[in-house]
């Protein structure tokens, strides 16, 4: 008996390993391939043009550094989209978070700097939590579609940021303010990249290994079934929007730290860039399906694209055209994949 049980668990472990390798290939295979092809193409063009090599450790770190702000935001957005919703307020929250944090630090007047910086960040996070909580309440209690609720929040927060900052960037901050955005651990890894990677890992664990993550996917897959299975749909959704807002503010704080100021102009249109990265990463806009890993690769594809195009000297307008085409291609690819799967389903 114990022998056969052992045998079975050994078998299922092997099968499990094979399964997860295949699952990895199925989930990330195409995306990774696309990313590799993209980088190789840029490298080849760079060589032909005789500019510096695109694929160097330095430039890769640059891409990661570049992605940190979007990266942190895209983790929250992945949860929102998997739950079947959308969050349009994240771009405004970037500006709002930066402004709140900068204004608190400046109000503190300097001494001790670390205390006021910590207070500024905490204040910004708290403001983000309040904004997200508000969005979550409007969406779950009053049953307003997320698109509308967060559109309203996007507009109001943008305006509020301008009012608080009196229309001007808030600068004259202590030099330590830029540590989060500019400093590197051991002179190699930027702190912002570490924050980004930490958020990514935590997001992945939360989505894949906790009740909360499972409930988010169940709600996105079928809200009524989830509710009738005892999932507290309102609470879960509320937390999803709260989390997305807080992470957007984290992105805003990092960005304002990079710039050494808090500006109400920042983050304009970022919600679309973040949604693009999430969608390129294979998360379905209809909910229920998506991964943090996919979002990560989607983000790298989008960031590498803008870095690479800069590298080979394509100007901004051309970059926008190409980004649009890449988003379209990614979604078509995903649709095509879905189609072949549903054909294989049989009768």
């Amino acid at each position: 008996m114990s022998d056969s049980t052992k045998h079975r668990s050994a078998v299922s472990a092997t099968v499990g390993a094979g399964h997860s390798a295949r699952a990895f290939g199925r989930t990330y295979g195409l995306l990774t391939l696309a990313l590799v092809i993209e980088c190789v193409v840029f490298e080849l063009i760079a060589r032909r043009q005789g500019v510096r090599s695109f694929l160097s450790p330095n430039s890769l770190m640059l891409i990661l550094n570049h992605s940190a702000v979007y990266g942190v935001m895209s983790v929250g957005m992945t949860f929102v989209i998997i739950s079947g919703g959308i969050d349009l307020s994240v771009g405004s929250l970037v500006a709002f978070g930066g402004v709140i944090s900068a204004i608190i630090v400046r109000a503190g007047g300097g001494e001790p700097a670390w205390l006021w910086i910590a207070l500024g960040w905490l204040g910004a996070l708290a403001a983000g939590a309040v904004a997200g909580g508000l969005a979550g309440t409007v969406i779950t209690v009053f049953e307003i579609p997320p698109f509308i609720a967060t559109l309203a929040l996007m507009s109001s927060l943008r305006g509020l940021g301008y009012i608080i900052a009196k229309g001007q960037p808030i600068s004259d901050l202590p030099s330590a303010y830029t540590a989060l955005g500019r400093d590197r651990i051991l002179n190699v890894v930027p702190i912002s990249v570490l924050v980004f990677v930490a958020v990514l890992l935590l997001g992945g664990v939360l989505l894949n290994h906790t009740r909360f993550g499972r409930h988010v996917r169940a709600i996105g897959g079928n809200e009524e079934s989830a509710r009738l299975s005892g999932v507290n749909v309102r609470a879960v959704k509320w937390w999803v929007y709260c989390m997305s807002s807080v992470l957007a503010v984290v992105g805003g704080v990092i960005l304002s730290s990079k710039l050494g100021s808090g500006s109400p102009k920042l983050g304009l249109g970022d919600e679309l860039g973040v949604i693009a990265a999430v969608v390129v990463g294979g998360t379905s806009l209809s909910g229920g399906r998506g991964t943090i890993g996919g979002t990560f690769i989607g983000l790298l594809i989008v960031s590498a694209l803008s870095s690479g195009l800069n590298w080979i000297g394509v100007e901004t307008f051309g970059q926008q055209v190409i980004l649009g085409l890449v988003i379209l291609a990614a979604v078509l690819l995903d649709r095509f994949k879905g189609r072949s799967w549903s054909l294989a389903k049989g009768r």
Partner: protein, 502 residues
């Protein structure tokens, strides 16, 4: 001129890994109601989808009025005179009845792109008049009842001058009265020489309306016979390929403690003053016509919908149930009638569906223990004999019977003591039905009490210890297993009789 309006010869269709249709032939005479029966997965739907142009065939031949035809698309099939009325109607909810009937073929003002509304309404009225249906042709579809929508589908089929009309489970969502009206209409259509293909899981309907019956099994054609030469037993025998000894394997257990009691349960406009109790050791049936309020009562007990007055007792104690979470905590589970939209998250795996309602049981520290989750699911897959390639299979890919078992596994894992089954065998084939009944027996043996909502009287009579009958939101009466007959239930359900409750 051929004797048949439609001939399908040696139709073969292969899906990756399965031979869905293996040289199936099917012949339809004009003016015949030809029933097509078989278990789920027998290939009926595939055969009909090929006929309706929704799927291409790999090989075979289709003749319409003796002429060989190639069907390229659903629209092409319609223009050839073959219309299919699906279980889920193909109607656009915000367009009017007339607009739906003529969708894509709107009559126009001469050669201009403008719609000739008066002609469209007049034509729609004329067609609906032909089938003696009285609906306002300007009414939006979403304001029509299900039965009216079905009539609109039939009218649409007629507007194409159809020679062949396929109906896929047309009775599934109709009330008894509406079903009568549908049968009358089918008889009219038959008299006008149209060939009708009627797919149903309810064998009673085959005997009531069918002229001829074809049985399929495992993608193969079994036989075609005039209905008069068939019996219920002989059809089931052909469908399952073996003698099905006992359609209703009822076991009677000793009645134990009262587990569930509802007192004076009322929701204005839905149900009123509903009182009953369910004990361990018994299966209690809750039946009545569609719309009598059975599902509403069940959802109220489960906390899925609110109620205005009344009290629910579990295990002798009054309890407050405001949400499904509360109900689950108290040991109540609900297997909804609509598995796909309310019971399962179709895109999730068997594992994730099984554990969804009781994940806290699997959480160690902060995280779900994936290993324990797999072994728990595997346990239920083995125990309930769920046919699936593995616990990671996506629920969408399972058959109806196996999906129902996954829903059941979910409630077993929550350690439910009161299970409410709402139409547990709807859309499930005969063989799988028996398995579900046996599982119910097993649950009752283990001390679970079962409340079964069902419209299928043979099932209610076959499996329940007591039968509660609802009529227009009220309990019209209660019958014991020994005193219940189909006729007595119908008398209570239609309000002809009132019996003392309790």
């Amino acid at each position: 001129m051929s004797e048949y309006v439609l001939q399908m010869k040696d139709i073969t269709k292969r899906f990756p890994g399965v031979l869905a249709l293996d040289k199936v032939s099917f012949n339809l005479k004009p003016g015949d109601v030809h029933c097509l029966v078989g278990e789920n997965g027998a290939g009926k739907s595939t055969l009909m989808k090929i006929l309706a142009g929704a799927q291409p065939m790999d090989s075979g031949e289709i003749l319409l009025s003796g002429e060989p035809i190639q069907i390229h698309s659903p629209h092409h099939a319609q223009t050839l005179g073959i219309s299919m009325i699906y279980q889920e109607f193909n109607l656009s909810p915000y367009l009017s009845v007339a607009e739906n009937i003529f969708l894509g073929r709107e009559p126009r003002m001469g050669k201009t792109p403008f719609i000739n509304w008066s002609k469209m309404y007049a034509d729609a009225r004329e067609i609906l008049g032909r089938i003696r249906v009285d609906i306002d042709v300007r009414k939006p579809i979403n304001e029509c009842s299900v039965a009216q929508q079905q009539m609109v589908e039939i009218a649409k089929a007629l507007s194409f001058q159809s020679k062949v009309i396929i109906m896929d489970e047309p009775s599934a969502t109709l009330t008894e009265h509406e079903l009568r009206a549908l049968f009358d209409l089918i008889r009219d259509l038959r008299a006008s020489g149209i060939g009708l293909i009627y797919i149903s899981h309810r064998l009673e309907e085959v005997f009531e309306i069918g002229d001829r019956c074809t049985v399929m099994r495992d993608g193969q054609y079994i036989d075609t016979k005039p209905v008069g030469e068939l019996t219920r037993e002989s059809i089931i025998h052909m469908m399952v390929g073996r003698e099905l000894k006992d359609e209703f394997p009822k076991e009677v257990f000793a009645r134990g403690n009262e587990l569930l009691r509802v007192e004076g349960l009322t929701r204005e406009g839905a149900f009123e003053d509903v009182n009953f109790a369910v004990h361990t050791g018994e299966i209690v049936g809750l039946t009545g016509l569609v719309g009598a309020g059975r599902t509403e009562v069940a959802r109220a007990i489960f906390g899925a919908d609110r109620f205005d007055r009344g009290q629910i007792h579990l295990n002798g104690r009054p309890v407050t149930v405001r949400s499904p979470q509360d109900a689950i905590r108290q040991g109540v589970g609900l297997l909804t009638e609509d598995r796909k939209n309310q019971g399962l998250v179709l895109g999730m795996s068997v594992r994730e569906n099984t554990t969804l309602a009781n994940l806290k049981e699997l959480v160690r520290g902060l995280f779900i223990s994936r290993g324990r989750e797999r072994s728990v699911t595997q346990h239920y897959v083995d125990d309930l004999q769920i046919k699936t390639p593995g616990v990671e299979q996506v629920a969408q890919n399972l058959s109806g019977g196996n999906q129902q078992k996954v829903v059941l596994a979910k409630w077993l894992f929550t350690k439910s003591r009161v299970l409410i089954f709402d139409e547990p065998t709807r859309g499930i084939d005969v063989g799988a039905k028996v398995e579900i009944y046996k599982l119910m027996n097993e649950l009752v043996r283990q001390g679970v009490c079962v409340l079964m909502i069902s419209s299928e009287l043979p099932e209610v009579l076959g499996m329940c210890d007591r039968i509660l009958v609802m009529h227009e939101g009220r309990l019209a009466g209660e019958l014991s297993r020994s005193e219940a007959t189909q006729e007595r239930i119908m008398r209570l359900a239609t309000g002809e009789a009132q019996a003392n409750v309790n």
